[in-house]
């Protein structure tokens, strides 16, 4: 077994990186994969909270790198799933406590034991971002159909390319199909045309995401919601399956057009 390292990043904060990382990791674990998540947001950790594992933290990733504990001791196992682990971020340190080479070494140690290593990058394009993409085999850029989020996503796509970690793939999060239909929200096609990268998935806006995050139960755990289904589809695509884009309400023709775009490589 040698894990694929997937880094989720966005440039802009608040687009749903942590939620996406948590739910894709959960969905991969539900596929029977052995998965470990690493929270790369030193000083502003949240992946623990979104996964509902915040009460079980003893050691964190900085403790591992600085040799205060063994790697195993910092890995929290999610008891709801067969094989999902979290390595939390340090909360009282800053992002300079880690270096890109620390992250590469950490992932190299984890690789033989896992199928997937999911890294939640912090917002921004400085040290924390560089730490998060250094060990990546694939980079997933998360964005929303909003001008500021798309602009920042484009910056990040360029930086990922410059670091030779590309081509990044896109998750378009919080799409409101009714607004897209009224032409008051950028459509997935618009965003793909602007960014000129391949699409990994579209997640519809869904209030169940907030409800499930309130409870510390990632929405992908009980897959009967639109967003939960979208995260499961993304996980299956990362696992190499060819999964068509789901139909969102009455946008059937529109989304099947997109499905064709995906099959032809997104552009």
């Amino acid at each position: 077994m040698t894990a694929s390292v997937i880094t989720f990043t966005s440039g802009k904060g608040g687009v749903g990186k942590t939620t996406t990382t948590a739910n894709v990791a959960v969905a991969l674990a539900l596929l029977g994969k052995k998965v470990v998540c690493i929270d790369g947001d030193i000083g502003l950790r949240n992946l623990d909270l979104v996964l509902g594992l915040e009460n079980r933290i003893v050691y964190d990733v900085v403790d591992v790198v600085e040799g205060r504990c063994r790697l195993r001791q910092a890995m929290i196992r999610d008891k709801r799933l067969p094989e999902l682990y979290l390595i939390p971020a340090a909360q009282t340190r800053d992002k300079n406590a880690l270096s890109p080479s620390d992250m590469v070494r950490l992932c190299d140690e984890l690789r033989p034991e896992f199928d997937f290593i999911c890294i939640d990058s912090p917002a921004g394009i400085e040290r924390g971002f560089r730490n998060a993409i250094a060990p990546a085999d694939q980079v997933v850029v998360v964005t929303n159909p909003e001008v500021s989020a798309v602009r920042d996503a484009d910056r990040v796509v360029g930086l990922v390319e410059a670091e030779e970690k590309g081509p990044a793939r896109l998750i378009l999060n919080r799409v409101n199909p009714a607004m897209v239909k009224r032409n008051e929200m950028l459509s997935p096609e618009d965003v793909l045309e602007l960014l000129a990268i391949d699409l990994l998935g579209i997640v519809p806006e869904d209030e169940n995401v907030i409800i499930s995050t309130n409870r510390g139960q990632p929405i992908a755990l009980n897959g009967k919601t639109r967003a939960g289904e979208a995260f499961h589809n993304i996980a299956r695509r990362l696992n190499g399956e060819n999964v068509p884009l789901m139909k969102l309400d009455d946008r059937q023709d529109f989304f099947s057009k997109l499905a064709r775009m995906m099959r032809s490589g997104g552009s």
């Binding site: 484009d154 032409n183 008051e184 950028l186 618009d190 000129a196």
Partner: protein, 87 residues
Amino acid sequence: MAGWLDWLMGQRNKSADQAKERLKLVLINDRTDLSPAQMEQLKNDLLAVIERYIAIDPARVHITMSQEGREHRLLADIPLKPAPRKR
């Protein structure tokens, strides 16, 4: 018919179209690290150099940025003035 045309015009001016147009321009600036003012300067410099050699028709000059995937291309369409015959 007129109503349908109005509807079509309205659709074209919805906020999503504005977002897309604005983003197109700003992404070109971001990717090329060239501000609109610098772009304007580039056009002027480019035309000045060409004008040292041949007469051009400045009113019909088109210099634009085209995008293909994540690659950009500076396109210059510079019509020349017919050279005056000296003989």
